[in-house]
């Protein structure tokens, strides 16, 4: 196995508030992303998944922790060194309507990273733009058009071409299809899957949509209020979810199969300003015990690399409650 393309260690991103408090958006995140895989980060709004992704691309200030890109520590890079590192990590943003400069032609938008990072000669840059347009399924004559002349799906293709321009090793995709119409989502998801297979790209893929994550990602981490509660392979996460929150999340996806065995979560997540000191999910968890409210569980991996942060994950009662989900789905 090759070295991980991305390693994140105890990453914290806190946003200070007036009065000395802080929003604990990302609060001690550790994971590693093996090269060539798509790593999904799922969670509900406010769970810190986007902040975590932006931190990995050095687009938001990091409070503490370490980020290594292909073994190289990029946490504190500045200036030219940071620019240099950006060649290897690029971002596809959520909203293709807001992330393209409306006054720039599509060709210039895609070329911009090459200009900024001074990659190749001007002629080579032009050739690279042509190549990228073909790669994402846009026609060469569309280089001269402005963003408003494209549909949402085509705009996201431009965003993807721009992200691929520098030949990155890691592509950070922040909800790349959630702003698109249903029929267009399939076109973009298929494009991303093809790029992953053809270019051997690694993905850090942020989404709130479990079905999308299941479709594209090899390994998946579930976030809740700034922390990872579970990391597993696609198969393990969806067949034997170990964390009660993961289980609730899967069962909440509307489908004819899950309706009967739905776990009804009550209430909302607690505030990230003063997060509870024990397990952050304890207040909404049906299995919470005294220890869950007092002590923060740590993320512990088993021998199949399935990690969970739950005091009660191996309790027979909790385990029995979990098995309801896959069985009912198989029989349906």
């Amino acid at each position: 196995m090759t070295a991980p393309v991305l390693e994140v260690e105890n990453l914290k991103v806190h946003f200070p508030l007036p009065g000395g408090e802080a929003v604990h958006a990302v609060d001690g995140l550790s994971f590693s992303l093996p090269a060539g895989l798509a790593f999904g980060l799922v969670g509900e709004s406010g769970s810190g998944k986007t902040t975590a992704a932006m931190a990995c691309a050095r687009l938001t200030e990091i409070t503490s922790g370490q980020i290594r890109l292909s073994g190289r520590d990029i946490t504190a890079l500045q200036g030219t060194a940071l620019k240099d590192a950006r060649r290897d990590v690029q971002v596809v943003f959520q909203d293709p309507y807001a992330s393209l400069n409306p006054r720039e032609r599509a060709g210039a938008i895609v070329r911009r990273p090459l200009d900024l990072l001074k990659i190749g000669t001007p002629a080579q840059r032009d050739a690279r733009v042509d190549e990228l347009f073909a790669l994402v399924g846009l026609r060469p004559d569309q280089k001269a058009l402005f963003p408003h002349q494209f549909s949402g799906g085509q705009r996201q293709r431009i965003g993807i071409a721009r992200a691929l321009a520098t030949g990155p090793k890691l592509l950070v995709c922040d909800e790349p299809v959630s702003a698109l119409d249903v029929a267009i989502q399939a076109q973009i998801l298929n494009l991303l899957a093809r790029l992953k297979a053809d270019l051997g790209l690694s993905f850090l893929f942020i989404s709130h949509d479990l079905a999308v994550v299941q479709h594209l990602c090899d390994r998946i981490a579930v976030m809740y209020l700034g922390k990872i509660v579970e990391i597993a392979s696609r198969r393990d996460l969806f067949t034997t979810p170990m964390h009660p929150y993961t289980h609730a999340l899967i069962s909440a996806v509307p489908s004819p199969h899950t309706a009967a065995s739905r776990i009804r979560l009550q209430g909302d997540p607690p505030s990230p300003i003063n997060p509870p000191k024990g397990c952050r999910f304890a207040g909404r968890c049906a299995h919470a015990q005294d220890i869950c409210h007092r002590v923060m569980p740590t993320l512990i991996a088993n021998d199949t690399d399935h990690a969970v942060a739950c005091h009660r994950a191996h309790d027979p009662v909790v385990a029995a409650a979990r098995t309801v989900l896959p069985r009912s789905a198989q029989s349906a």
């Binding site: 509900e44 709004s45 549909s151 799906g153 119409d181 249903v182 029929a183 267009i184 989502q185 399939a186 076109q187 998801l189 298929n190 899957a193 093809r194 709130h208 949509d209 479990l210 079905a211 999308v212 299941q214 479709h215 594209l216 696609r234 198969r235 969806f238 067949t239 609730a248 999340l249 899967i250 909440a252 996806v253 509307p254 489908s255 004819p256 199969h257 899950t258 309706a259 739905r262 009804r264 979560l265 209430g267 909302d268 989900l325 896959p326 789905a329 198989q330």
Partner: protein
Amino acid sequence: MTTPLLSVRNLEISFRSGGQDIPVVRDLSFDLSSGEILGIVGESGCGKSITALSLIGLVPSPPGRISGGQILFQGEDLVQASQARLNAVRGNDISMVFQEPMTSLNPVFSIGEQIAETARAHFGLTRAKAWARAVEMLALVGIPSPAKRAHDYPHQLSGGMRQRVMIAIALVCEPKILIADEPTTALDVTVQAQIFDLFQELQQKIDAAIILITHDIGVVAQMTDRVMVMYAGRKIEEGPVTEFLGDPRHPYTRGLISCIPRLSLPPQDHPAPLFEIPGVVPAPKDLGRPGCAFAPRCAGVQPRCHTETPALSTRAPGRAVACWLETEDAL
């Protein structure tokens, strides 16, 4: 069978643009009975939302107007009704939950006042009684400590809580029809599940009919009894939800169902590429010509599809599809 609660007949909605009336909904007919949940699905730009707005007289006018057809609510044509009559129907008999709970509430009034306002307008309750009713509604939609939270302003609530407030406003008069336009797209999946549970409970409690506009096939499967698929302003397929999912007939319906990644348990090891519907929804102004509007994106397109518009043909009671391939099948 009794007369339906709502019967839409040959509805046409047009928007004035560039000196021309451009129809965005054409020849739309459907019925809705008490206690029924009807799903309307289609991509953006298919006319779903404007159809919903037309039912409560909220087509933005100008430039829009209902340019033909009837909307019969308990036999009364709402297209011909006066503003005063529409005001009485709106909120009282037919109410709506909008897509954006973040922007649909007034930020400068407490949520209790916003619910009470509706109760006072329709029932002429005193302030005190209307407030009591507002608190009761907040409890009904599952907001904890409702008497206290009624004094909160929208910005103090989470997205899920705001959507509950919207639902409380929509239900305060116990409407006969509740229209929900993508009521959960702005919400997280666990909150979405709570809102749908709430819809189902309320529907059973007050026997309301619900029109649910959505693009999420999972939501359709779980929530609705009957489904209507719209494309480019027309109904192109209709049927019971089991047949919609199990035996979709229109190529567009099939595409819509299979282009969405669906959660599979257990997961597949190597998911196949998703089905793609090529191209995009045509703009209304490009629809003047004859032929099926879906033809340019259709894999099974025939020469006839470009020249003649297929009519909606009924295959069985409540089951209809507008596609030449199906008509030839039936012959």
